[in-house]
């Protein structure tokens, strides 16, 4: 089943009269199906964060059209967009973006409570999810009292709790050490398998990208290449490195 359809999206910063016009995205088109785990790779300034912001409906494309489950997102109003985000999209950010005034538990249930769910539903969902993600023991603590890995898992938990149609992860391993990063990637794979969640992972870390089933490479605002994971993980890893070195981005 198709979750997301992106058609000819372009994003231009600056006005027409302004000489500082800068094109971040040029006619990008792709589709995402239910249950896919897709990576988006590119060097800094290639437009991958712009793409993620547009997909997350935090930003609007200059031209082009994109729809989720058949609903055209571009025509929605501000409040409809807020509703759309809270119901259909889960975000995981590099710097976790947890509220430090709240315990992990309160952070996780935020989307549900914003949606106005009742206490029973909230508690039931929280219990299961936090158990699966292995943070049940620290759930009553405040973000600054737990490790970065635990914070990021709580953030993942928050992204998942409203059963979003799509999870957008922006460099989620960027702030983690390699062990925690690996744990988180395994967790994303687990979420992808177990909950049939559709995940879009933006990264420039080759290791993180190698967990995806499909990778879109972006250069100068255009889709430059696509790679599919085969059975051999090592080979996939190597081919990602090849493409990246061609892009002039990561050298590893």
């Amino acid at each position: 089943m198709q979750v997301l359809k992106v058609e000819n999206i372009s994003k231009v910063y600056g006005t027409k009269k302004n000489s500082n016009r800068y094109t971040a995205l040029r006619s990008v088109s792709f589709e995402v199906n239910q249950g896919e785990f897709i990576g988006v790779m590119g060097a800094s300034g290639s437009g991958k964060t712009t793409l993620l912001n547009i997909l997350g409906s935090l930003d609007k494309p200059t031209t082009g059209k994109y729809s989720m489950n058949g609903n055209d997102i571009g025509t929605m109003h501000k409040n409809e967009l807020a509703k759309h985000r809270i119901e259909n999209i889960g975000f995981i950010f590099q710097d976790y973006n947890l509220l430090e005034t709240m315990t992990l538990k309160e952070n996780i249930i935020l989307p549900l409570s914003l949606m106005g769910k009742d206490v029973k539903t909230i508690e039931a969902k929280l219990e299961k999810l936090a158990g699966d993600l292995g943070i049940l023991h620290v759930i009553g603590k405040y973000p600054y009292e737990v490790s970065g890995g635990e914070q990021q898992r709580a953030a993942a938990c928050r992204a998942l709790i409203n059963n979003p149609k799509m999870i957008l992860a922006d460099e989620p391993t960027g702030n983690l050490d390699s062990k925690s990063g690996k744990d988180l990637l395994n967790l994303l794979s687990f979420i992808n398998m177990e909950y049939k969640a559709t995940i879009l992972l933006v990264t420039h870390d080759v290791f993180a990208a190698s967990y995806c089933q499909k990778i879109l490479f972006i250069r100068d605002g255009e889709i430059y290449n696509e790679l599919y994971a085969g059975n051999d993980k090592k080979q996939f890893f190597d081919s990602i490195i090849d493409v990246m070195s061609m892009l002039g981005g990561e050298r590893k």
Partner: protein, 654 residues
Amino acid sequence: MNLFALALRNIRLNRKKYIMYVFSLGFSVFTVYTFLALMQNESVKLAFQYDTRYQMMLTSFGIIILVFVLFFLISSNNSFIRARKKELSTYALFGMTNLRIGTLLFLETLMVGMVTLAVGMGAGIFFSKLMAMFLLDLSLSNYVGDISFTIDPMAMYVTALLFVVIFCMMGLSALRVIYQFELVDLFKADKISEGKQKGSVLILVLSLVLMIAGYILASIKSTYIVVLGAIPILILVITGTYLFFWGGLPKVLSMIKRNKRIYYQSTNLISVSAVSHRMKSIASVMATIAVLSAVASTAIATGFTLYSNAERNTYSNMGFDLVYYGGEVSLKDNIHDVLQLNQVVIELEDTIGLYEAHPKTETVIVEAREHLTDEDTFRVYSETTYNRLIAESKTDLEAAVIPSGKAYYIFPFSQEGIESAMLDLRLDFQKVDIQIVKVIRSSVPGFGLDHTLILTDEDYESLIQSGLILSSEENGRAGTAVVMNYEHALDNRELNNALENIPKGTVVGFRTAYKLYNESMETFGLICFIGFFMSGVFILMTASLLYFKQVMAAEEERHQYKMLKRIGMEDKTERQVIQKRLIPIFFIPLAMGIIHSIFAMKTADTVVFSNIISVENSYLSVLGFSAVMYLAYGAVYGVFYLITKAQYGRIIRS
């Protein structure tokens, strides 16, 4: 770039942060200058020269204002510096010494200070005439001298000197704040909790018990106990207030948190956790604001109630526009001549025969003092005469209806214990015993004697017959009293001067309502003025303290709202969250201050107002007048809330 240029640049860059700072500093300068100028103002000096009490009152009020200005400026300066922590730590990171950073800040304070000093004093001079007029209008409504527009070099000099000293103190305290900064904090400042407080049930209960004990003590109906208990009441209530904000309110918040059905509602979840997160840093400020609001609202409520009841007070004391007893026969004609000359219409004129009696009584002791002994003489009226007098007068007294063989007792002063001591007392008039069945407080019918009795017409007649009631003339006192009411009694200055100048000879008591009214207006007007001035200053200081705190918090919380927007919080929800976040911080202290004030007014009623407003339940009437001032205070405070809310919203959306 030298320090001086850097300071200038900082002021330019921090323009927005400086605006509110300049405003409150400017207001402080304005307050101090205006105050000093008022004390020096020739018209004010002249008007109050007969009474040194007012100079004393104004001086002590000035000292209170100065202390709070100092407290307010230093604490807002400190939070201003904390708001710039990042910037200042960056200087330290690049190797600037604390002393140099302190000097830099001092230079900034001095530069901004000099400008505000000029602006504040300019405003002070500009409004000096208005202020003097306001004060004189309130307290000396019949003052006719010319109020000039004045520039007071003495006041300017003292203000400037005071503020330079204050700026130096601010500089020193800023240095202390800078030395407290840890460089590490720069990198983790936002992440660390300011210290959550769980609070405790014990402290919550204790704080409530302390406050309620204070309230109960304040509500006791005895003047004696209330005056003695003033300090304990203050200690109980103030301690209770601080404990409530330190430990009680956090407990209430954590109790809300435990009620998941309420807490898990989106706006509550965000705002309650945000408020409880800030609790520790704001608890003392909130408690101080509660206390200050209580002081300020009590001051204006007292002033306003007194002021509004000056006329009532006058007539409940006097009963008529003009009263005299004794004196030469020609006095009456002279008064008539004066009234005619001033073309004043006489509305009422009556001559009352004065009688007295000397019954045997037991000695009555009230609060360790002899209230009534066998020596005392009673002024005596028949029911009919008394009711005529009361009906003609401008008092709130009700007509007497006396059962046969009984009497009403009237006494001019209010004192706890008199009523119960005098009630049921039997007076021995040789043949008959007459029992007192009602005690009234009034100074109208005494005409020179403290104790007054009203008898039934029959009893009165028979006692006159038997010679037990005598005309006062036979005892060498005035035998008649003349009472008059006429037009423009309270506002005709010339008429009053003419009346005062009539030669009166051996007259014993000659009083005009005009004189009493103007005396009370002077006092009440001054209290009213001080009340308004003080609440103006307190409101501005407390509200801008809260403003600073919230704007600082907004800077820190901005990224949280950004994140909430990202995960899909609607604009409407955001507005609700901001409201729920700010309303408790602004209005819990206000509500508590007003509750304190309501009980303070109860005490004021016992001590002062029950003497002035002689209706059955004077407290209700006092509360009515106070409510007007509470509403006014709340409205001004509300405006500051709206300003803060707007600024908070602007910051988190930027």
